[in-house]
Amino acid sequence: MADTMMPNSDGAPGWIRRNRQALAPFLFLLPGVLFFLFYVIFPILQSFNLSFYRWDGLGEPVYIGAENYIELLDDRAFEVSIWNNLKWLLMYLLAIPAGLAIALFLNQNVVGIRLYKSLFFFPFVISQVVVGLVFSWFYDPTFGLLNQILGFFGLGTLNVLGDPNLVTYGIILAGLWPQTAYCMILYLTGLNAVDPEQVEAARLDGAKGFKMLWYVIIPQLRPATFIAFVVTIIGALRSFDLISIMTNGGPFGSSRVLSFYMFEKALSEYGFRMGYGAAIAVVLFLIMLLFIAYFLWSMYEEEKGGR
């Protein structure tokens, strides 16, 4: 009683002082949560809602039920985009073993290795727009470095970005460049923390080379692998910049993915079909949700073990 009547050091009234520990988190969270709800959570719900409307972005939206989704089922371009998304997902995962390989290659203590490591990481730091430009010149059929090299070996020319069968792989390869750099840095950090005593013990038991890597090292790299997996999956499904810069979806729409096709439908010169675009975005979101749910579940399992 007496305690609450006493003037406090910071002059807070009694009620606030008594409930301070319950109020504080609420106040600290308020601005961040409001921002996030306003710009991220509500828009997700709005997109779900919008996918049941026909809307050109200007006039009044018209409710059309599931028509957008029914149209998707027969949309060739949508089918192409889904397949390309699948290619992105599978091929992008190559960044993980590639990153591990480079990390193993660079995990030495020689003069200047620190600088080499940061230079290997370089591609991740530059924007995908620049990566896209650099690679479209690399592939250029008239002067691109790729064709210079092919020509040197007498293999003829290859118009990677002009060939509907090759174009997606060409863009994915460009995407793998920075992504591999990212995975490499994750594994370099992970390798740094590998328990040297376990390695020595295994060495005394005669383990070496690939066996050592598989049974001793990789299990210890689990946290790094998990993060590499998360960022690679997210990166693969988010791919937009490279496609927009390198081919703009072409040739003949053969390099579209869902994220690009959605943008095209909703905001490009082909007309503002916001509702249809939203329906495509919802499909992409649901695919992503499978992975997000898995990531959250893994995090939850870990939290249970913690404080």
Partner: protein
Amino acid sequence: MFPRPIQKSSSAWAATYQAMVPMALVLWLLPLIAVAVFSIKPDVDFTTGNYWGWPSSFKGFENYGKVFFASDMPRYLLNSVLITVPTVIGAVALSCMTGFALGVYKFRGNLLLFFMFVAGNFVPFQILMVPVRDLTLDMGLYNTKTGLVLFHVAFQTGFCTLFMRNFIRALPFELIEAARVEGVAEWRIFWFVVLPLMKPAIAALSVLIFTFIWNDYFWAVVLTQGAESQPVTAGITSFNAQYRAAYHLMSAGSIVAALPPVAMFFLMQRHFIAGLTLGAVK
């Protein structure tokens, strides 16, 4: 250490390794080196087909001079700065608070809120595109830097909260408890006890967010148009349209656009890597 230290192998193999590393690096960065070489070549090399040979003359100063003094590039660069810096400050400030609240207090729905931030940070941008563009239009902020900044702050708060909360969790909780026993107000604990300990996390997040936002292309295209508010990632495409087939200028422009995050990375390397690899080691 794995693989086995090279020093323990034969000296021949060690020497081979020493030679292999720079060679691998050159191969790895070949596309980038090509652009760097392009950017110092004269115009005439491209018309005569001397793409890959030695530059017939050094025109680096002319090419970069053109980028800086005869194009909209400085404008775009300034826009990028004016978008990136406020976003970094906003997102880091908000997430210091949310991270503190979620990391220190026990209350119902704590984990749920945390997972909301984490999940929101993973969603595809496209599901936000139409509503956010609409919202920005309604607020009269379409094609303004403010509109872009507000959205970036909100979206990055997801990732930053994840980062900050996990960082605060790893701090010694006894410090906070001791302060409470002393009767220190909660906001004072935040300001005087926790915030000073968060400096490394703030540094790491700042460089990361700087790079992410500087390199953003999608939202720049969705929420802005024209040189008065577009950042350099979007600007480079109009720059390239202006100098179509002038590869020496396009290369110089690309290098200029890519440079600030690169400089940031080299200056703050330790923090940058610590930020990117948070959680990669248990």
